[in-house]
Amino acid sequence: MTFYEKELNRIRSIVYSSEEQVKTVIGIRNYIKNNCEANLNLDLLSNIQLVSKYHLLRLFKKYYGITPKQYLIDTRIEKSKEHLINGMSVTETCFAVGFESLGSFSTLFKTKTGKSPSEYQKEQLSRSKINLEFSTLEDS
């Protein structure tokens, strides 16, 4: 066993000593991931895992370093990228991934990716077109 593995085992026994807590937070994260387009809130999540919402919030932050809300937003933004690449309109994408206002979706998207949803879409679509043109160029 390497020194690294020994260190990991030592850290594991301290940081991840509660299997139950680990199981709970993994369950919550998976639920958010699989239902990110739904209207999720802490009450709902705490009912699913049968823990109080403040405890849930604290646990999630402890094990993932971000709040459930931040994780939800990141997951929605990632999913919205897929929709945009597949040609879905910005408005449709916004509602498909669970945001309720176009303004807040566009602002969040820009903060997270550096581009507005429409700029992102234009860039991705022109990129696939360029790739196509280049591959025909190479073929001929």
């Binding site: 390497t2 020194f3 690294y4 594991r12 680990v22 993994i26 993932y64």
Partner: protein, 131 residues
């Protein structure tokens, strides 16, 4: 300021380029000649081509402390850096078939699963999946 570059020290840039593209699946983004046969050589993830670039840097050949540090990490089994994957087990199986040597098999640790392999260029590299 923006984070756009991650540097990995390698003993042989050409060998590293082959390993990181052919086995790991990265794509070459920039390759320009510098002095003395050294190159500014960067790679990106195929699914995130405007994401951070991975610089394969020949530092251990030119700066002794870099070599010492790299050797010490290798000996202790410490990963130089880590990459995210969707499925550690699947990636482990895929890389095993390509004769990649793992020092840590897929292992769960709390909310992550990880494995560690040898990049054949002087580093241990960790792959991680968040559970």
């Amino acid at each position: 300021m923006k984070v756009t570059l991650i540097s990995i020290p390698v003993r042989d840039q050409e060998k590293a380029l082959n390993f990181y593209t052919e086995k790991l699946g990265f794509i070459k983004k920039r390759d320009l000649p510098l002095e003395g046969g050294n190159r500014w050589l960067t790679l990106v993830s195929p699914e995130w081509q405007d994401g951070p670039e991975l610089l394969l840097e020949p530092a251990p050949n030119h700066f002794e402390p870099s070599k010492v540090f790299q050797d010490a990490l290798m000996e202790a089994g410490y990963p130089y850096t880590q990459f995210d994957v969707d499925d550690v087990e699947a990636e482990y199986q895929r890389l095993l078939k390509l004769d990649v040597d793992f020092s840590v098999k897929p292992t769960e640790m709390g909310t992550v699963k990880f494995a560690v392999f040898n990049d054949t260029c002087g580093n241990n590299i960790q792959i991680v999946e968040t559970l």
